[in-house]
Protein backbone atom coordinates (compact mmCIF):
# COMPACT_ATOMS: atom_id res chain seq x y z
CA UNK A 1 0.00 0.00 0.00
CA UNK A 2 1.26 3.45 -0.89
CA UNK A 3 -0.18 5.24 2.08
CA UNK A 4 3.03 7.00 3.09
CA UNK A 5 2.80 9.97 0.72
CA UNK A 6 -0.88 10.34 1.49
CA UNK A 7 -0.55 10.27 5.23
CA UNK A 8 2.29 12.77 5.07
CA UNK A 9 -0.03 15.47 3.79
CA UNK A 10 -3.09 14.87 5.92
CA UNK A 11 -3.64 11.56 7.62
CA UNK A 12 -6.34 9.10 6.74
CA UNK A 13 -6.41 5.34 7.03
CA UNK A 14 -7.05 2.83 4.30
CA UNK A 15 -9.17 0.74 6.64
CA UNK A 16 -12.15 -1.52 6.04
CA UNK A 17 -14.48 1.46 5.63
CA UNK A 18 -12.15 2.90 2.99
CA UNK A 19 -12.13 -0.26 0.93
CA UNK A 20 -15.84 -0.95 1.40
CA UNK A 21 -16.77 2.52 0.20
CA UNK A 22 -14.30 2.30 -2.68
CA UNK A 23 -15.71 -1.04 -3.82
CA UNK A 24 -19.31 0.27 -3.67
CA UNK A 25 -18.28 3.36 -5.63
CA UNK A 26 -16.36 1.45 -8.32
CA UNK A 27 -19.02 -1.25 -8.68
CA UNK A 28 -21.77 1.35 -8.95
CA UNK A 29 -19.86 3.19 -11.68
CA UNK A 30 -19.06 -0.05 -13.51
CA UNK A 31 -22.72 -1.06 -13.58
CA UNK A 32 -23.78 2.47 -14.64
CA UNK A 33 -21.34 2.31 -17.57
CA UNK A 34 -22.40 -1.23 -18.51
CA UNK A 35 -26.09 -0.15 -18.56
CA UNK A 36 -27.06 -3.64 -17.35
CA UNK A 37 -29.28 -2.16 -14.65
CA UNK A 38 -30.98 1.24 -14.80
CA UNK A 39 -28.59 3.87 -13.48
CA UNK A 40 -31.14 5.30 -11.05
CA UNK A 41 -31.68 1.92 -9.40
CA UNK A 42 -27.90 1.47 -8.97
CA UNK A 43 -27.53 4.98 -7.55
CA UNK A 44 -30.31 4.42 -5.01
CA UNK A 45 -29.04 0.96 -4.07
CA UNK A 46 -25.44 2.17 -3.78
CA UNK A 47 -26.58 5.04 -1.56
CA UNK A 48 -28.56 2.61 0.56
CA UNK A 49 -25.46 0.44 0.96
CA UNK A 50 -23.32 3.43 2.01
CA UNK A 51 -25.86 4.15 4.75
CA UNK A 52 -26.64 0.65 5.91
CA UNK A 53 -22.93 -0.22 6.13
CA UNK A 54 -22.42 2.92 8.22
CA UNK A 55 -19.90 4.44 5.82
CA UNK A 56 -22.07 7.54 6.11
CA UNK A 57 -24.53 8.35 8.85
CA UNK A 58 -28.01 9.23 7.60
CA UNK A 59 -27.59 12.67 9.12
CA UNK A 60 -24.45 13.24 7.04
CA UNK A 61 -26.13 12.07 3.85
CA UNK A 62 -29.23 14.20 4.30
CA UNK A 63 -27.99 17.30 6.05
CA UNK A 64 -24.28 17.87 5.51
CA UNK A 65 -23.14 19.80 2.47
CA UNK A 66 -19.78 18.09 2.42
CA UNK A 67 -20.92 14.47 2.30
CA UNK A 68 -24.58 14.56 1.42
CA UNK A 69 -27.22 15.48 -1.11
CA UNK A 70 -26.79 18.91 -2.69
CA UNK A 71 -30.34 20.18 -2.31
CA UNK A 72 -29.51 23.31 -4.28
CA UNK A 73 -28.97 21.13 -7.36
CA UNK A 74 -32.04 18.98 -6.65
CA UNK A 75 -34.44 21.89 -6.17
CA UNK A 76 -33.04 23.84 -9.11
CA UNK A 77 -33.64 20.83 -11.37
CA UNK A 78 -37.12 20.07 -10.01
CA UNK A 79 -38.22 23.70 -10.19
CA UNK A 80 -37.04 24.19 -13.76
CA UNK A 81 -38.78 20.94 -14.78
CA UNK A 82 -42.04 22.14 -13.20
CA UNK A 83 -41.82 25.49 -15.04
CA UNK A 84 -41.19 23.75 -18.37
CA UNK A 85 -43.99 21.23 -17.78
CA UNK A 86 -46.40 24.09 -17.17
CA UNK A 87 -45.20 25.95 -20.27
CA UNK A 88 -45.24 23.02 -22.65
CA UNK A 89 -49.02 22.78 -23.26
CA UNK A 90 -49.18 26.47 -24.23
CA UNK A 91 -47.56 25.56 -27.55
CA UNK A 92 -44.73 28.06 -27.20
CA UNK A 93 -42.05 25.53 -28.11
CA UNK A 94 -43.88 24.39 -31.26
CA UNK A 95 -44.25 28.09 -32.11
CA UNK A 96 -40.51 28.77 -31.75
CA UNK A 97 -39.57 25.72 -33.81
CA UNK A 98 -42.02 26.39 -36.67
CA UNK A 99 -41.12 30.08 -36.71
CA UNK A 100 -37.44 29.10 -36.97
CA UNK A 101 -38.10 26.76 -39.88
CA UNK A 102 -39.99 29.53 -41.68
CA UNK A 103 -37.16 31.95 -41.05
CA UNK A 104 -35.04 29.48 -42.98
CA UNK A 105 -37.44 29.98 -45.92
CA UNK A 106 -37.53 26.23 -46.50
CA UNK A 107 -33.83 26.11 -47.44
CA UNK A 108 -32.52 22.85 -45.92
CA UNK A 109 -29.16 24.10 -44.71
CA UNK A 110 -30.45 27.47 -43.58
CA UNK A 111 -33.02 25.66 -41.45
CA UNK A 112 -30.30 23.41 -40.04
CA UNK A 113 -28.17 26.41 -39.06
CA UNK A 114 -31.10 28.29 -37.52
CA UNK A 115 -32.18 25.17 -35.61
CA UNK A 116 -28.61 24.77 -34.33
CA UNK A 117 -28.61 28.33 -33.00
CA UNK A 118 -32.12 28.03 -31.51
CA UNK A 119 -31.18 24.70 -29.91
CA UNK A 120 -28.00 26.21 -28.45
CA UNK A 121 -29.87 29.22 -27.02
CA UNK A 122 -32.70 27.08 -25.60
CA UNK A 123 -30.13 24.66 -24.15
CA UNK A 124 -28.42 27.53 -22.41
CA UNK A 125 -31.71 28.59 -20.81
CA UNK A 126 -33.31 25.18 -20.24
CA UNK A 127 -31.56 21.90 -19.75
CA UNK A 128 -30.30 20.01 -22.78
CA UNK A 129 -32.63 17.07 -22.42
CA UNK A 130 -35.72 19.28 -22.37
CA UNK A 131 -34.43 21.20 -25.37
CA UNK A 132 -33.87 18.18 -27.57
CA UNK A 133 -37.20 16.70 -26.48
CA UNK A 134 -38.83 19.88 -27.77
CA UNK A 135 -36.75 20.36 -30.93
CA UNK A 136 -36.32 16.79 -32.24
CA UNK A 137 -39.99 16.08 -33.09
CA UNK A 138 -40.24 19.30 -35.11
CA UNK A 139 -36.91 18.56 -36.77
CA UNK A 140 -38.24 15.19 -37.94
CA UNK A 141 -41.43 16.83 -39.23
CA UNK A 142 -39.46 19.44 -41.17
CA UNK A 143 -37.15 16.79 -42.66
CA UNK A 144 -40.22 14.84 -43.82
CA UNK A 145 -41.77 17.99 -45.27
CA UNK A 146 -38.60 18.72 -47.24
CA UNK A 147 -38.03 15.02 -48.03
CA UNK A 148 -34.43 15.19 -46.77
CA UNK A 149 -32.47 12.83 -44.53
CA UNK A 150 -33.31 13.78 -40.92
CA UNK A 151 -30.10 12.28 -39.47
CA UNK A 152 -27.84 15.31 -40.10
CA UNK A 153 -30.47 17.56 -38.48
CA UNK A 154 -30.74 15.30 -35.45
CA UNK A 155 -26.99 15.01 -34.99
CA UNK A 156 -26.60 18.75 -35.39
CA UNK A 157 -29.33 19.32 -32.80
CA UNK A 158 -27.60 17.06 -30.25
CA UNK A 159 -24.19 18.68 -30.81
CA UNK A 160 -25.61 22.20 -30.62
CA UNK A 161 -27.45 21.43 -27.39
CA UNK A 162 -24.27 20.20 -25.71
CA UNK A 163 -22.28 23.22 -26.90
CA UNK A 164 -25.03 25.72 -26.01
CA UNK A 165 -25.66 24.16 -22.62
CA UNK A 166 -22.05 24.86 -21.67
CA UNK A 167 -22.67 28.60 -21.68
CA UNK A 168 -24.74 29.08 -18.52
CA UNK A 169 -25.18 27.88 -14.96
CA UNK A 170 -28.53 26.25 -15.78
CA UNK A 171 -27.56 24.99 -19.24
CA UNK A 172 -26.17 21.59 -18.31
CA UNK A 173 -26.26 19.58 -15.06
CA UNK A 174 -22.42 19.65 -14.65
CA UNK A 175 -22.59 23.44 -14.50
CA UNK A 176 -25.41 23.37 -11.94
CA UNK A 177 -23.31 21.06 -9.77
CA UNK A 178 -20.10 23.05 -10.23
CA UNK A 179 -21.89 26.33 -9.45
CA UNK A 180 -23.33 24.91 -6.27
CA UNK A 181 -20.04 23.40 -5.09
CA UNK A 182 -17.88 26.44 -5.91
CA UNK A 183 -20.63 28.93 -4.96
CA UNK A 184 -20.42 30.54 -8.39
CA UNK A 185 -23.30 32.61 -9.69
CA UNK A 186 -25.16 32.83 -12.97
CA UNK A 187 -23.23 35.84 -14.23
CA UNK A 188 -19.89 34.15 -13.46
CA UNK A 189 -20.81 31.50 -15.99
CA UNK A 190 -22.02 34.06 -18.55
CA UNK A 191 -18.84 36.06 -18.10
CA UNK A 192 -16.42 33.15 -18.24
CA UNK A 193 -18.06 30.54 -20.47
CA UNK A 194 -20.55 32.28 -22.78
CA UNK A 195 -17.89 34.16 -24.83
CA UNK A 196 -16.05 31.01 -25.85
CA UNK A 197 -19.33 29.16 -26.47
CA UNK A 198 -20.41 31.90 -28.90
CA UNK A 199 -17.15 31.53 -30.83
CA UNK A 200 -17.60 27.74 -30.79
CA UNK A 201 -21.10 28.07 -32.24
CA UNK A 202 -19.82 30.24 -35.10
CA UNK A 203 -17.14 27.68 -35.89
CA UNK A 204 -19.68 24.87 -35.46
CA UNK A 205 -22.02 26.40 -38.05
CA UNK A 206 -19.12 26.63 -40.51
CA UNK A 207 -18.24 23.00 -39.81
CA UNK A 208 -21.77 21.69 -40.40
CA UNK A 209 -21.95 23.80 -43.57
CA UNK A 210 -18.81 22.01 -44.81
CA UNK A 211 -20.09 18.57 -43.78
CA UNK A 212 -23.71 18.73 -44.84
CA UNK A 213 -24.23 22.02 -46.71
CA UNK A 214 -24.09 20.56 -50.20
CA UNK A 215 -25.77 17.26 -49.41
CA UNK A 216 -29.08 18.73 -48.32
CA UNK A 217 -31.24 19.60 -51.30
CA UNK A 218 -34.98 19.83 -51.75
CA UNK A 219 -37.53 20.87 -54.35
CA UNK A 220 -39.29 24.25 -54.48
CA UNK A 221 -42.77 22.80 -54.02
CA UNK A 222 -41.63 21.09 -50.81
CA UNK A 223 -40.25 24.37 -49.43
CA UNK A 224 -43.78 25.68 -49.87
CA UNK A 225 -45.00 23.13 -47.31
CA UNK A 226 -42.89 24.90 -44.69
CA UNK A 227 -43.98 28.35 -45.79
CA UNK A 228 -47.65 27.28 -45.62
CA UNK A 229 -47.34 26.42 -41.92
CA UNK A 230 -48.77 29.06 -39.62
CA UNK A 231 -46.80 29.22 -36.39
CA UNK A 232 -49.64 31.08 -34.67
CA UNK A 233 -51.72 27.89 -34.82
CA UNK A 234 -49.29 26.42 -32.29
CA UNK A 235 -50.39 28.70 -29.46
CA UNK A 236 -53.07 26.77 -27.60
CA UNK A 237 -53.35 28.83 -24.42
CA UNK A 238 -52.36 32.49 -24.87
CA UNK A 239 -53.33 33.44 -21.31
CA UNK A 240 -51.13 30.78 -19.74
CA UNK A 241 -48.40 31.64 -22.24
CA UNK A 242 -48.36 35.24 -21.05
CA UNK A 243 -48.19 34.11 -17.43
CA UNK A 244 -45.42 31.65 -18.26
CA UNK A 245 -43.35 34.25 -20.07
CA UNK A 246 -43.73 36.71 -17.19
CA UNK A 247 -42.61 34.07 -14.68
CA UNK A 248 -39.76 32.94 -16.93
CA UNK A 249 -38.72 36.58 -17.20
CA UNK A 250 -38.74 36.91 -13.41
CA UNK A 251 -36.73 33.70 -13.03
CA UNK A 252 -34.12 34.72 -15.60
CA UNK A 253 -33.83 38.18 -14.04
CA UNK A 254 -33.52 36.44 -10.68
CA UNK A 255 -30.70 34.29 -12.05
CA UNK A 256 -28.87 37.34 -13.39
CA UNK A 257 -29.04 39.10 -10.02
CA UNK A 258 -28.98 36.14 -7.63
CA UNK A 259 -25.33 36.76 -6.78
CA UNK A 260 -25.98 40.39 -5.88
CA UNK A 261 -29.20 39.57 -4.03
CA UNK A 262 -27.55 36.67 -2.15
CA UNK A 263 -30.07 34.11 -3.31
CA UNK A 264 -29.07 30.60 -4.31
CA UNK A 265 -30.22 29.71 -7.87
CA UNK A 266 -32.59 27.09 -6.43
CA UNK A 267 -34.36 29.78 -4.42
CA UNK A 268 -35.04 31.74 -7.60
CA UNK A 269 -36.22 28.67 -9.51
CA UNK A 270 -38.38 27.36 -6.66
CA UNK A 271 -40.06 30.75 -6.32
CA UNK A 272 -40.71 30.77 -10.08
CA UNK A 273 -42.15 27.23 -10.04
CA UNK A 274 -44.40 28.05 -7.07
CA UNK A 275 -45.59 31.29 -8.66
CA UNK A 276 -46.38 29.70 -12.01
CA UNK A 277 -48.22 26.80 -10.32
CA UNK A 278 -50.28 29.37 -8.44
CA UNK A 279 -50.98 31.43 -11.57
CA UNK A 280 -51.88 28.34 -13.60
CA UNK A 281 -54.89 27.94 -11.28
CA UNK A 282 -54.58 24.20 -11.62
CA UNK A 283 -56.50 22.14 -9.09
CA UNK A 284 -54.62 19.04 -10.10
CA UNK A 285 -50.91 19.65 -9.54
CA UNK A 286 -50.55 15.88 -9.54
CA UNK A 287 -49.90 15.45 -13.27
CA UNK A 288 -47.54 18.45 -13.47
CA UNK A 289 -45.47 17.08 -10.60
CA UNK A 290 -45.68 13.52 -11.91
CA UNK A 291 -44.03 14.70 -15.13
CA UNK A 292 -40.92 15.78 -13.25
CA UNK A 293 -38.17 13.41 -14.34
CA UNK A 294 -37.98 11.67 -10.98
CA UNK A 295 -35.53 9.00 -12.18
CA UNK A 296 -33.02 11.76 -12.96
CA UNK A 297 -33.62 13.47 -9.62
CA UNK A 298 -33.15 10.22 -7.69
CA UNK A 299 -30.07 9.45 -9.77
CA UNK A 300 -28.58 12.71 -8.52
CA UNK A 301 -29.55 12.07 -4.91
CA UNK A 302 -28.13 8.55 -4.94
CA UNK A 303 -24.89 9.72 -6.55
CA UNK A 304 -24.40 12.50 -4.04
CA UNK A 305 -24.59 9.96 -1.23
CA UNK A 306 -22.29 7.44 -2.97
CA UNK A 307 -19.72 10.18 -3.66
CA UNK A 308 -20.20 11.48 -0.10
CA UNK A 309 -19.18 8.04 1.15
CA UNK A 310 -15.91 8.00 -0.77
CA UNK A 311 -15.22 11.61 0.20
CA UNK A 312 -15.61 10.71 3.86
CA UNK A 313 -13.29 7.69 3.75
CA UNK A 314 -10.61 9.65 1.87
CA UNK A 315 -10.65 8.07 -1.59
CA UNK A 316 -11.28 11.45 -3.21
CA UNK A 317 -8.45 12.99 -1.23
CA UNK A 318 -6.15 10.21 -2.39
CA UNK A 319 -7.21 10.84 -6.01
CA UNK A 320 -6.65 14.59 -5.70
CA UNK A 321 -3.14 13.97 -4.34
CA UNK A 322 -2.39 11.81 -7.38
CA UNK A 323 -3.41 14.64 -9.70
CA UNK A 324 -1.32 17.15 -7.77
CA UNK A 325 1.63 14.81 -7.92
CA UNK A 326 1.16 14.38 -11.65
CA UNK A 327 0.97 18.11 -12.36
CA UNK A 328 3.52 19.09 -9.67
CA UNK A 329 1.13 21.77 -8.45
CA UNK A 330 1.32 23.61 -11.80
CA UNK A 331 -2.19 25.07 -12.14
CA UNK A 332 -2.08 25.42 -15.93
CA UNK A 333 -1.13 21.76 -16.26
CA UNK A 334 -3.87 20.86 -13.77
CA UNK A 335 -6.47 22.79 -15.78
CA UNK A 336 -5.43 21.10 -18.99
CA UNK A 337 -5.33 17.62 -17.50
CA UNK A 338 -8.77 18.15 -15.99
CA UNK A 339 -10.25 19.60 -19.18
CA UNK A 340 -9.06 16.85 -21.51
CA UNK A 341 -9.58 14.04 -19.03
CA UNK A 342 -13.09 15.37 -18.35
CA UNK A 343 -13.87 15.51 -22.05
CA UNK A 344 -12.91 11.89 -22.71
CA UNK A 345 -14.36 10.68 -19.42
CA UNK A 346 -17.69 12.44 -20.17
CA UNK A 347 -17.77 10.85 -23.61
CA UNK A 348 -17.65 7.42 -21.95
CA UNK A 349 -19.39 7.96 -18.62
CA UNK A 350 -22.45 10.04 -17.94
CA UNK A 351 -21.04 13.48 -17.09
CA UNK A 352 -23.27 13.75 -14.00
CA UNK A 353 -21.55 11.05 -11.90
CA UNK A 354 -18.23 12.22 -13.29
CA UNK A 355 -18.69 15.80 -12.10
CA UNK A 356 -20.20 14.60 -8.83
CA UNK A 357 -16.84 12.91 -8.23
CA UNK A 358 -14.61 15.67 -9.59
CA UNK A 359 -16.24 18.46 -7.56
CA UNK A 360 -15.11 17.26 -4.12
CA UNK A 361 -11.81 16.22 -5.67
CA UNK A 362 -11.10 19.78 -6.78
CA UNK A 363 -12.15 21.15 -3.40
CA UNK A 364 -9.78 18.69 -1.75
CA UNK A 365 -6.99 19.69 -4.10
CA UNK A 366 -7.57 23.33 -3.16
CA UNK A 367 -7.31 22.40 0.53
CA UNK A 368 -3.94 20.77 -0.07
CA UNK A 369 -2.70 23.83 -1.95
CA UNK A 370 -4.03 26.52 0.37
CA UNK A 371 -4.50 24.88 3.78
CA UNK A 372 -5.03 28.22 5.54
CA UNK A 373 -8.01 29.33 3.44
CA UNK A 374 -11.64 28.30 3.74
CA UNK A 375 -15.10 29.12 2.35
CA UNK A 376 -15.39 31.26 -0.77
CA UNK A 377 -11.77 32.36 -0.46
CA UNK A 378 -10.72 28.77 -0.89
CA UNK A 379 -13.37 27.71 -3.42
CA UNK A 380 -12.86 30.76 -5.61
CA UNK A 381 -9.12 31.20 -5.19
CA UNK A 382 -7.95 33.03 -8.35
CA UNK A 383 -5.65 30.14 -9.23
CA UNK A 384 -8.49 27.65 -8.82
CA UNK A 385 -11.03 29.42 -11.04
CA UNK A 386 -9.55 28.25 -14.38
CA UNK A 387 -9.71 24.71 -13.01
CA UNK A 388 -13.45 25.00 -12.41
CA UNK A 389 -13.97 26.45 -15.90
CA UNK A 390 -11.84 23.69 -17.39
CA UNK A 391 -13.95 21.08 -15.61
CA UNK A 392 -17.16 22.70 -16.88
CA UNK A 393 -15.89 23.00 -20.45
CA UNK A 394 -14.46 19.49 -20.54
CA UNK A 395 -17.45 17.78 -18.94
CA UNK A 396 -20.09 19.61 -21.02
CA UNK A 397 -18.31 19.53 -24.38
CA UNK A 398 -17.16 15.96 -23.81
CA UNK A 399 -20.81 14.95 -24.04
CA UNK A 400 -20.54 15.21 -27.83
CA UNK A 401 -17.87 12.52 -27.98
CA UNK A 402 -20.21 9.53 -28.16
CA UNK A 403 -23.85 8.55 -28.40
CA UNK A 404 -23.93 7.88 -24.64
CA UNK A 405 -21.86 10.95 -23.68
CA UNK A 406 -24.90 13.04 -22.81
CA UNK A 407 -28.54 12.31 -22.03
CA UNK A 408 -29.50 14.58 -24.94
CA UNK A 409 -27.64 12.28 -27.34
CA UNK A 410 -29.40 9.21 -25.97
CA UNK A 411 -32.77 10.87 -26.57
CA UNK A 412 -31.92 12.00 -30.09
CA UNK A 413 -30.62 8.56 -31.06
CA UNK A 414 -33.71 6.92 -29.55
CA UNK A 415 -36.14 9.21 -31.38
CA UNK A 416 -34.27 8.75 -34.62
CA UNK A 417 -34.50 4.99 -34.32
CA UNK A 418 -38.23 5.20 -33.63
CA UNK A 419 -38.60 7.27 -36.79
CA UNK A 420 -36.93 4.45 -38.71
CA UNK A 421 -33.52 6.12 -39.05
CA UNK A 422 -31.03 4.28 -36.89
CA UNK A 423 -27.92 6.24 -35.87
CA UNK A 424 -25.30 3.65 -34.95
CA UNK A 425 -22.86 4.20 -32.09
CA UNK A 426 -20.00 4.47 -34.60
CA UNK A 427 -21.86 6.87 -36.86
CA UNK A 428 -22.52 9.20 -33.95
CA UNK A 429 -18.91 9.02 -32.91
CA UNK A 430 -17.63 9.62 -36.45
CA UNK A 431 -19.16 13.10 -36.28
CA UNK A 432 -19.27 13.67 -32.52
CA UNK A 433 -15.69 12.87 -31.62
CA UNK A 434 -14.10 15.33 -34.11
CA UNK A 435 -16.56 18.00 -33.00
CA UNK A 436 -15.72 17.30 -29.36
CA UNK A 437 -11.98 17.48 -30.04
CA UNK A 438 -12.38 20.68 -32.05
CA UNK A 439 -14.45 22.44 -29.36
CA UNK A 440 -12.24 21.23 -26.48
CA UNK A 441 -9.22 22.39 -28.45
CA UNK A 442 -10.83 25.82 -28.76
CA UNK A 443 -11.55 25.73 -25.04
CA UNK A 444 -7.89 24.90 -24.39
CA UNK A 445 -6.72 27.94 -26.35
CA UNK A 446 -9.33 30.07 -24.58
CA UNK A 447 -8.37 29.00 -21.04
CA UNK A 448 -4.68 29.35 -21.78
CA UNK A 449 -5.05 32.76 -23.41
CA UNK A 450 -7.55 34.25 -21.00
CA UNK A 451 -6.33 32.93 -17.66
CA UNK A 452 -2.63 32.28 -18.13
CA UNK A 453 -1.52 34.81 -20.75
CA UNK A 454 -3.89 37.78 -20.59
CA UNK A 455 -4.95 36.97 -17.00
CA UNK A 456 -8.37 38.63 -17.27
Amino acid sequence: MTTETVTAAQPFVMDTAFWTATVIFLLAYAVIISEKIHKTIIAIFGAGLMLVLKILEQHEAFHLEEFGIDWNVIFLLISMMVIINLMRPTGVFEYIAIKSAKLGKGEPFRIMAIFAVVTAVLSALLDNVTTVLLITPVTLLIADALDVDPVPYLLSCAFASNIGGTATLIGDPPNIMIASKAQLNFMDFIYHLAPVVIVMMVVYIIVIKLIWGKKLVTRDELKQRIMNMNENDAIKDPVMLTKSLVVLGIVLTGFIFHGVLHFQPATVALFGAGLLLLLSKTHEPHHILAEVEWPTIFFFMGLFIIVGGVVKVGLIKWMSLQILELTQGNMFATSMVIMWFSAFASAIVDNIPYVATMNPLIVDMARQLWPDLSGVQLLQHPDLMPVWWSLALGACLGGNGSAIGASANVIVVGMSEKAGKKISFMKFMAYGMPIMILTVFMATIYVWLRYYVLKI
Binding site: E94, T136, L141, N228, D233, A234, K236, M415, K418
Partner: protein, 162 residues
Amino acid sequence: MKAKDLMIPLHECLTPEMPLVQAAHLLKTAKRGEEIVGVKGLPVLDQSGKMIGFLSIGDILKAVFPSYMSLMNLGDFTWDGMVEDFAKKAACKHVSDVMTTDIITVPDEAPLMECVDHMLKSNVKRLPVIDKTGKVVGMLYERDVFYEITRAMDKGAEGVCR
Protein backbone atom coordinates in the same frame (compact mmCIF):
# COMPACT_ATOMS: atom_id res chain seq x y z
CA MET B 1 -74.85 -17.73 -23.34
CA LYS B 2 -71.15 -18.47 -23.81
CA ALA B 3 -68.45 -16.95 -26.01
CA LYS B 4 -68.64 -19.83 -28.50
CA ASP B 5 -72.39 -19.31 -29.00
CA LEU B 6 -72.01 -15.70 -30.10
CA MET B 7 -68.66 -15.74 -31.87
CA ILE B 8 -68.27 -15.58 -35.64
CA PRO B 9 -66.13 -18.50 -36.83
CA LEU B 10 -62.78 -17.43 -38.21
CA HIS B 11 -62.40 -17.54 -42.00
CA GLU B 12 -59.28 -15.50 -42.55
CA CYS B 13 -56.14 -14.85 -40.61
CA LEU B 14 -52.88 -12.98 -41.10
CA THR B 15 -49.28 -14.16 -40.96
CA PRO B 16 -46.44 -12.16 -39.38
CA GLU B 17 -44.38 -11.92 -42.60
CA MET B 18 -47.32 -10.71 -44.68
CA PRO B 19 -46.74 -7.21 -46.14
CA LEU B 20 -49.04 -4.57 -44.72
CA VAL B 21 -50.61 -3.82 -48.09
CA GLN B 22 -51.80 -7.43 -48.38
CA ALA B 23 -53.03 -7.49 -44.78
CA ALA B 24 -54.99 -4.29 -45.34
CA HIS B 25 -56.72 -5.85 -48.37
CA LEU B 26 -57.59 -8.92 -46.36
CA LEU B 27 -59.18 -6.76 -43.66
CA LYS B 28 -61.16 -4.99 -46.36
CA THR B 29 -62.46 -8.16 -48.00
CA ALA B 30 -62.83 -10.45 -44.99
CA LYS B 31 -66.03 -12.43 -44.71
CA ARG B 32 -68.44 -12.25 -41.85
CA GLY B 33 -70.45 -15.42 -42.11
CA GLU B 34 -71.23 -15.72 -45.82
CA GLU B 35 -71.00 -12.04 -46.69
CA ILE B 36 -67.90 -10.10 -47.72
CA VAL B 37 -68.21 -7.09 -45.42
CA GLY B 38 -64.68 -6.47 -44.23
CA VAL B 39 -63.59 -6.52 -40.60
CA LYS B 40 -61.85 -4.08 -38.33
CA GLY B 41 -59.23 -6.54 -37.12
CA LEU B 42 -57.84 -10.05 -37.62
CA PRO B 43 -55.62 -12.36 -35.56
CA VAL B 44 -52.05 -13.00 -36.66
CA LEU B 45 -51.12 -16.69 -36.52
CA ASP B 46 -47.72 -18.32 -36.80
CA GLN B 47 -47.08 -21.49 -38.83
CA SER B 48 -48.33 -23.76 -36.07
CA GLY B 49 -51.61 -21.85 -35.94
CA LYS B 50 -50.79 -20.19 -32.63
CA MET B 51 -51.96 -16.61 -32.26
CA ILE B 52 -48.99 -14.25 -31.84
CA GLY B 53 -50.67 -10.92 -32.41
CA PHE B 54 -53.64 -8.97 -33.64
CA LEU B 55 -53.84 -6.40 -36.41
CA SER B 56 -56.61 -3.82 -36.40
CA ILE B 57 -57.44 -0.78 -38.51
CA GLY B 58 -56.08 1.29 -35.62
CA ASP B 59 -52.70 -0.43 -35.97
CA ILE B 60 -52.67 0.46 -39.67
CA LEU B 61 -53.41 4.11 -38.83
CA LYS B 62 -50.52 3.99 -36.36
CA ALA B 63 -48.27 2.56 -39.08
CA VAL B 64 -48.70 5.71 -41.18
CA PHE B 65 -48.54 8.04 -38.17
CA PRO B 66 -44.97 9.23 -37.58
CA SER B 67 -43.81 8.56 -34.02
CA TYR B 68 -42.71 12.17 -33.52
CA MET B 69 -46.28 13.42 -34.03
CA SER B 70 -47.33 11.89 -30.72
CA LEU B 71 -44.62 13.76 -28.82
CA MET B 72 -45.78 17.30 -29.53
CA ASN B 73 -48.82 19.13 -30.88
CA LEU B 74 -47.86 19.10 -34.53
CA GLY B 75 -51.24 18.34 -36.13
CA ASP B 76 -51.56 21.96 -37.31
CA PHE B 77 -48.33 21.73 -39.27
CA THR B 78 -49.05 18.77 -41.54
CA TRP B 79 -49.64 18.98 -45.28
CA ASP B 80 -51.95 17.60 -47.88
CA GLY B 81 -50.65 14.27 -49.14
CA MET B 82 -48.72 13.46 -45.96
CA VAL B 83 -50.81 10.40 -45.04
CA GLU B 84 -50.55 9.12 -48.63
CA ASP B 85 -46.75 9.51 -48.59
CA PHE B 86 -46.46 7.61 -45.34
CA ALA B 87 -48.90 4.95 -46.56
CA LYS B 88 -46.63 4.29 -49.56
CA LYS B 89 -43.67 3.90 -47.21
CA ALA B 90 -45.64 1.64 -44.85
CA ALA B 91 -46.97 -0.67 -47.61
CA CYS B 92 -43.99 -3.02 -47.45
CA LYS B 93 -43.71 -3.17 -43.67
CA HIS B 94 -44.48 -6.58 -42.23
CA VAL B 95 -47.56 -7.32 -40.18
CA SER B 96 -45.25 -8.26 -37.29
CA ASP B 97 -43.83 -4.69 -37.25
CA VAL B 98 -47.17 -3.06 -36.50
CA MET B 99 -49.41 -5.70 -34.92
CA THR B 100 -50.48 -5.51 -31.29
CA THR B 101 -48.85 -8.31 -29.32
CA ASP B 102 -50.53 -7.63 -26.01
CA ILE B 103 -53.81 -9.37 -26.78
CA ILE B 104 -56.71 -10.35 -24.63
CA THR B 105 -58.43 -13.60 -25.57
CA VAL B 106 -61.39 -15.46 -24.11
CA PRO B 107 -61.87 -19.23 -23.85
CA ASP B 108 -64.78 -20.54 -25.96
CA GLU B 109 -66.49 -21.72 -22.76
CA ALA B 110 -66.31 -18.26 -21.13
CA PRO B 111 -69.65 -16.85 -19.95
CA LEU B 112 -70.75 -13.70 -21.74
CA MET B 113 -70.18 -11.50 -18.69
CA GLU B 114 -66.50 -12.46 -18.69
CA CYS B 115 -66.34 -11.20 -22.28
CA VAL B 116 -68.10 -7.95 -21.37
CA ASP B 117 -65.69 -7.55 -18.46
CA HIS B 118 -62.73 -7.71 -20.87
CA MET B 119 -64.38 -5.39 -23.39
CA LEU B 120 -65.03 -2.68 -20.83
CA LYS B 121 -61.88 -2.92 -18.74
CA SER B 122 -59.47 -3.26 -21.64
CA ASN B 123 -61.45 -1.03 -23.99
CA VAL B 124 -61.52 -3.52 -26.87
CA LYS B 125 -64.35 -4.11 -29.31
CA ARG B 126 -63.23 -7.51 -30.61
CA LEU B 127 -62.10 -10.57 -28.70
CA PRO B 128 -60.40 -13.58 -30.27
CA VAL B 129 -61.99 -16.77 -28.91
CA ILE B 130 -59.69 -19.74 -28.28
CA ASP B 131 -60.43 -23.42 -27.77
CA LYS B 132 -58.85 -25.74 -25.19
CA THR B 133 -55.76 -26.31 -27.36
CA GLY B 134 -55.14 -22.55 -27.57
CA LYS B 135 -56.23 -22.27 -31.22
CA VAL B 136 -58.26 -19.28 -32.34
CA VAL B 137 -61.66 -20.54 -33.38
CA GLY B 138 -63.58 -17.31 -33.83
CA MET B 139 -64.08 -13.67 -33.07
CA LEU B 140 -66.51 -12.14 -30.62
CA TYR B 141 -67.66 -8.67 -31.67
CA GLU B 142 -69.08 -5.95 -29.43
CA ARG B 143 -71.94 -5.54 -31.86
CA ASP B 144 -73.04 -9.18 -31.43
CA VAL B 145 -72.89 -8.83 -27.66
CA PHE B 146 -75.07 -5.74 -28.04
CA TYR B 147 -77.62 -7.73 -30.14
CA GLU B 148 -77.71 -10.40 -27.46
CA ILE B 149 -78.29 -7.76 -24.79
CA THR B 150 -81.19 -6.27 -26.80
CA ARG B 151 -82.76 -9.72 -27.18
CA ALA B 152 -82.54 -10.24 -23.43
CA MET B 153 -83.93 -6.76 -22.79
CA ASP B 154 -86.87 -7.46 -25.09
CA LYS B 155 -87.72 -10.57 -23.11
CA GLY B 156 -87.32 -8.86 -19.77
CA ALA B 157 -89.26 -5.79 -20.78
CA GLU B 158 -92.36 -7.70 -21.93
CA GLY B 159 -95.17 -6.47 -19.78
CA VAL B 160 -92.91 -4.60 -17.43
CA CYS B 161 -91.90 -1.24 -18.95
CA ARG B 162 -95.25 0.27 -19.48
